[in-house]
């Protein structure tokens, strides 16, 4: 699945899975490094997904247009 299509929820679950894998004792060092990298990248994507712009309430008017509540 494309990174853009993943929901925040899916990405968080992914990171949880990665953490569980890293904690396994029989994982190879290379694998744990690439998982770690993947985890850090995904967390970065998660943070990036938080659109930190304050939103005003929009109203859908009769013409199907969105306008700010006056």
């Amino acid at each position: 699945m494309d990174e853009q299509e993943k929901t925040l929820e899916m990405m968080l679950e992914e990171v949880e899975g990665i953490i569980a894998s890293i904690q396994q004792r029989d994982i190879s060092l290379e694998d744990s490094f690439s998982l770690y990298q993947q985890g850090v990248e995904t967390l970065k994507l998660c943070s990036g997904r938080i659109d930190a712009v304050e939103k005003k309430l929009l109203v859908l008017n009769e013409d199907g247009q969105l306008e700010e509540l006056s």
Partner: protein, 401 residues
């Protein structure tokens, strides 16, 4: 016949006046069963009230529609407050309704139960159709009145939990005439926008006020909505058909906002703790590998050739030492035996005899002379003393016996 002839208009007008002057007729409650109920596009509602004894035509004008809070249908037993007056054109008197309420406690409740059962049997409340509410909705649609407690509560909660969530309101009528159509339209319009979740509801009110959320068309619109729907009607104790058909029922609009709008602080904390867990995971993994490496290093150190050589060398040294020791002991043993032999030998030494005055006599060829007959008179002899030698000559041979 010529006296007192009146026109139709005059008669109808006269009778109309009679009704108008009658105090009772100007404000009267009439109860009966509804039939021939017609909702005219103009907004007027025409119907007939009847009981066993007869019938009474009735109309509610669009301007009075506020007085009808529920969808009236044929067969409903109602109480109508209104005025009885004459419709001059037809010469008919009829009831001009101002308010209509369902007659008898529990009438609405019975209708609610009947519809609930019907929809339940159709499977519209089935768990398998319930969609999960997304945990991290970015855009939340709201179908409710643009004024009123519900939208204010939702806005407040959303602003507190996550001011970055986009709320989109479809201002809908939530009671009275046209409310059902308005709500259905709102659900469809917001559904078409592909939002993450919808809140459909209103603040508290009487059962009649909330009635639109028990309408079948509203229930169907919620059921057909592709976007997950949270119902939020009235207070905790108010349960409507919309609640059963929605993907999730919130007890109040505020609660719906809590369910639809995720807590940003909580998410940031979650991200932080995930990052920490990830770092802990990799550093645990690293120190684990480090200790494994150290262990192997130690094993390898013991096995390196230099070490093996040292081991061999010290083994050789050890062997050498043991060999020397053994050798020395053997030597001592031999020396000891030798000295014992030497002592024994000394006792038997000819030199000792010589020192005691004995001497060895040989002929000129060095043969020992042990018998007198070996020599003749005049033979040279050699005599070995303890110290020094003598040359001698036989002067006489004497035989024993």
């Amino acid at each position: 016949m010529t006296k007192n002839v009146y026109t139709v208009g005059q008669v109808n007008s006269y009778i109309r006046n009679m009704f108008a002057q009658d105090f009772m007729m100007s404000r009267i409650y009439v109860k009966g069963e509804v039939s021939n109920c017609k909702y005219h596009p103009s907004g007027h509602v025409y119907f007939t009230l009847k009981d066993e004894s007869g019938s009474l035509g009735a109309v509610m004008f669009a301007s009075n529609r506020k007085g009808l809070a529920f969808p009236m249908r044929n067969g409903d037993n109602v109480i109508v407050l209104g005025t009885v007056s004459v419709y001059e054109r037809d010469g008919r008197y009829q009831l001009y309704a101002k308010e209509i309420i369902l007659d008898g406690a529990g009438a609405l409740y019975r209708r609610f139960e009947a519809l609930k059962q019907e929809l339940e049997e159709m499977g519209m409340f089935a768990e398998e159709y319930k969609q999960p509410i997304p945990r991290y909705a970015g855009r939340v649609g709201i179908v409710t009145a643009s004024t009123g407690a519900a939208i204010r509560d939702i806005q407040n909660i959303a602003a507190r939990r996550n001011p970055y969530t986009q709320l989109i309101l479809y201002p809908a009528l939530v009671q009275g005439e046209g409310a059902a159509e308005s709500i259905v339209q709102g659900i469809r319009a917001l559904d078409a926008m592909g939002l993450d979740v919808l809140i459909v509801g209103r603040g508290g009110g009487s059962m009649e006020d909330l009635w639109v959320f028990n309408e079948e068309e509203v229930a169907r619109a919620i059921f057909d909505c592709e976007t997950p729907v949270i119902s939020a009607v009235g207070h905790e104790t108010d349960v409507t058909i919309a609640d059963f058909v929605a993907d999730l029922r919130a007890p109040t609009p505020s609660a719906a906002a809590e369910l639809a709008v995720f807590d940003l602080r909580k998410l940031l904390e979650d991200l932080k703790s995930l990052r920490m867990a990830l770092n802990r995971g990799i550093s645990d993994q690293l120190s684990d590998w480090q200790s494994r490496l150290k262990h192997q290093e130690e094993r390898l150190y013991l096995l390196r050739p230099e070490n093996l050589l040292n081991q061999r060398r010290s083994y050789c040294l050890d062997l050498e030492q043991r060999l020397t020791q053994q050798m020395e002991r053997k030597l001592l043993e031999v020396k000891h035996r030798l000295s014992l032999c030497a002592q024994g030998l000394e006792g038997a030494s000819p030199l000792k005899k010589l020192s005691q005055g004995y001497s060895v006599v040989t002929d000129i060829e060095g043969r020992s002379v042990v018998e007198a007959e070996q020599v003749r008179k005049g033979d040279p002899l050699r005599i070995q003393l303890f110290r020094g030698r003598l040359k001698a000559q036989v002067t006489e041979v004497l035989k024993d016996g």
